[in-house]
């Protein structure tokens, strides 16, 4: 589904991302982990054609994302709160996204009604602007906004951050269902190793812009990841 080839991005000579080859098959739930500055958001931004690659290409469903826009109808994303429109209410925001993706009000209502649990009664019908919601509730609205219009690829950057524990668990269930039952390719990044290992079938570790680990999730993956990041913490303290 998503094929990355020789992609790299540098800012004034400093390389922030360099991936030689990365294939994400359709329907895979894919997790990206790494410390701050490892290149997770850069990779997602390249995938969404929000920044221009220095070299290489990302192909989504045989479409080179930086050359054509036809990948947009089947791709959706929530990267950060700048994906929200602060002066709309959550409902208006959902309808707006729905309009852009060819969904009428009834379609959108049908979809959002499935997330009543997830919203925990704090989003719909509150007559509040998105800009006035708490960080966690903004995130909930943004994530559900990214599910509108039956996308085949969903990109979520740090979806678990700022969510309360109950919502985190509900979100994990939602993401698993999307990949398993509906065959959606879900790309998630996170700092929380436990959450990604729970949700993702495959986990890629980025370090300084490069892929250092590519794991199929199994019961020992969490241990392995923890060991990996503990090691870099230890080696960092030894260097000091």
């Amino acid at each position: 589904m998503i094929h990355t080839k020789d992609i790299s991005k540098s800012y004034s000579g400093t390389q922030v991302l360099k991936i030689d080859e990365l294939d994400i098959p359709k329907g895979q739930s894919f997790g990206l982990v790494g410390n701050n500055g490892a290149g997770k958001t850069t990779y997602f931004s390249l995938l969404l054609d929000l920044i221009n690659p220095s070299t290489g290409t990302i192909t989504s469903n045989d479409i080179v994302v930086s050359q054509s826009e036809t990948w947009k109808p089947f791709t959706s994303a929530f990267i950060d709160e700048t994906f929200l429109i602060g002066y709309l209410t959550p409902e208006e925001y959902f309808y707006f996204i729905g309009d852009l993706r060819g969904q009428n009000k009834a379609d959108v209502d049908a979809l959002t009604s499935k997330f009543e649990d997830f919203f925990n009664g704090e989003i719909i019908g509150k007559k509040k602007y998105l800009r006035d919601l708490s960080k966690g509730n903004q995130k909930k609205a943004g994530i559900v906004g990214a599910l509108i219009g039956n996308p085949e690829v969903i990109v979520l950057d740090e979806p678990f951050a700022n969510l309360d524990p109950t919502t985190q668990i509900r979100l994990k269930q939602i993401l698993k269902d999307l990949a398993k039952k509906q065959g959606v390719t879900v790309l998630v990044s996170s700092h929380d190793l436990m959450h990604v290992t729970d949700v993702c079938e495959r986990i890629v570790v980025l370090e300084k812009g490069e892929v250092v680990k590519d794991l199929e999730t199994n019961p020992t993956t969490l241990k392995e990841l923890e060991a990996h990041f503990a090691k870099s913490a230890v080696s960092a303290s030894e260097e000091e």
């Binding site: 221009n52 994906f83 509040k128």
Partner: protein
């Protein structure tokens, strides 16, 4: 600005002696102080804010609450606004001393003026504290300044004299300076009381949450595929401080002609008609258009990753601007009172606005690289304004004005009008082609815009 002030200060004495040869320049200068204060209050209200947010980190530190309040108020006393007048008054004071006024008198006078500045400083914060909850936040200041000016102007209470005599009395008898000092202390303690009550995270430091009042925008459906964007734009205008005050300013644009037409000198200057026509029918066009697409800078990334047609996004803005021109023209029909030729000139200007200026301003928008924070006030807010925004003003206003003026002078009114209309109609006919060009321009600068809008300026 400072340069002008210093210059004025140095030469004020000479200027006053020249214009009012029979009077004492010092007395004349005091006569202006009242107007100075009014102007200062107006300026402060729109430009100066109590630096209250800067204390958020102090609240959790072991500092007494009253110390924090004193810190905020003290900090405001060091504001540039309070020292600004000194650039004028000190040079003037020096020239007074040079011309033989007693030093002690001049010094007391300077001190009194400085205290007046501080009084204005603290009075302004009280005013802001009370008006911040109102729907039209600048109403109280308008009433206050306008009211005082009116009372003075129509001779009901002559504040000019009160202030002037007060200042004279103080400089002649320094003991009277205690009066402004007392006022200052009173205002300070009043501010202290207000602020102390408000300095909690859940009071003034927390932004207020208002309930949403949604209007029915289903009428936009008749515009077909661009309806979602039109609804978004209308909500953008109505729900954000900066755009909302811009919408209110349209009244000024509409009434702009009234500054000129009542005076026969201007009414007979035909080239002014085109200018006023362009300006008053295009007021919204210019103010809204120059910040396309920066209005959407806060969520530009999202728009760019969505399945949107750029052309639809831009066409929605175009229709909005076109509608505003038509509405402004219709509301301006009463200008016919000053002559039917004026109305025809306005009509030609409106057509030119729709056909030419809308496209020019949107083309200029593709050079927008500055983020706009929608929650800031509009007056004197130049955020998002770059060199291009100023440059674009030339073809928008100067070109039609020059064209009209020249043709009108060389050949005649009819031809000048026809030219503007023909240009406008040509623009409307070529609308599709222009839009395609503009859209391409926006697409070309997509990455640059995303990167620029992502930065906090």
């Amino acid at each position: 600005m400072i340069g002008i002030f210093v210059f004025l200060g140095v030469f004020l004495f000479k200027i006053l002696t020249k214009f009012f040869p029979e009077q004492d320049p010092f007395v004349v200068a005091n006569g202006f102080v009242f107007f100075w204060i009014l102007g200062e209050m107006g300026m402060r209200f729109f430009l100066q804010k109590l630096p209250v947010m800067s204390v958020k980190p102090l609240l959790t530190l072991p500092v007494k609450r009253s110390t924090v309040v004193n810190f905020v108020l003290g900090k405001s006393a060091l504001s540039f606004f309070n020292f600004f007048p000194l650039f004028l008054t000190i040079p003037f004071g020096i020239s007074l001393i040079n011309n033989g006024y007693p030093i002690s008198q001049v010094l007391t006078w300077l001190l009194a003026l400085f205290i007046i500045s501080l009084i204005a400083n603290f009075l302004n914060f009280i005013l802001e504290a009370f008006s911040s909850d109102l729907n039209i936040p600048f109403l109280p200041i308008l009433i206050l300044v306008g009211g005082l000016y009116g009372l003075n102007h129509f001779g009901i209470i002559s504040f000019t004299e009160i202030v002037a005599n007060g200042l004279l009395a103080i400089s002649n008898n320094p003991i009277y300076i205690l009066i402004p000092i007392t006022i200052l202390v009173a205002l300070y303690s009043f501010n202290f009381k207000i602020l102390r009550k408000k300095l909690f995270l859940d009071a003034s430091l927390k932004t207020k949450v208002k309930d949403v009042k949604a209007a029915d925008l289903s009428w936009t459906k008749r515009f077909g595929d661009i309806a979602p964007f039109m609804q978004l734009d209308l909500k953008l205008i109505w729900r954000n401080k900066r755009t909302k005050s811009m919408a209110f300013l349209m009244v000024i644009g509409l009434l702009y002609g009234l500054f000129f037409y009542p005076q026969p000198t201007y009414r007979d200057m035909e080239f002014m008609w085109a200018f006023i026509g362009i300006f008053s029918t295009g007021f919204f066009l210019i103010n809204f258009g120059q910040f396309i697409p920066a209005w959407d800078s806060g969520y530009y990334k999202m728009l760019m990753s969505q399945n949107i047609k750029y052309e639809q996004y831009l066409r929605s803005k175009w229709i909005l601007m076109t509608m505003s021109v038509m509405i402004m023209f219709i509301l301006g029909i009463p200008y016919i009172f000053f002559g039917w030729k004026i109305l025809i000139a306005h009509f030609a200007a409106a057509v030119y606005n729709v056909g030419v200026n809308t496209h020019v301003i949107m083309w200029g928008g593709s050079y927008n690289r500055k983020k706009i924070d929608l929650d800031k006030k509009a007056a004197f807010n130049y955020q998002g304004t770059g060199a291009v925004q100023w440059l674009i003003g030339i073809p928008l206003m100067a070109v039609p004005m020059a064209l009209f003026g020249l043709l009108n002078w060389l050949i005649g009114f009819e031809l000048a009008i026809t030219t503007l209309i023909v240009l406008g109609v040509a623009g409307i006919v070529l609308h599709k082609q222009f839009m395609a060009m503009i859209t391409q321009k926006y697409l070309d600068s997509k990455y640059k815009m995303i990167a620029a809008f992502g930065k906090d300026s």
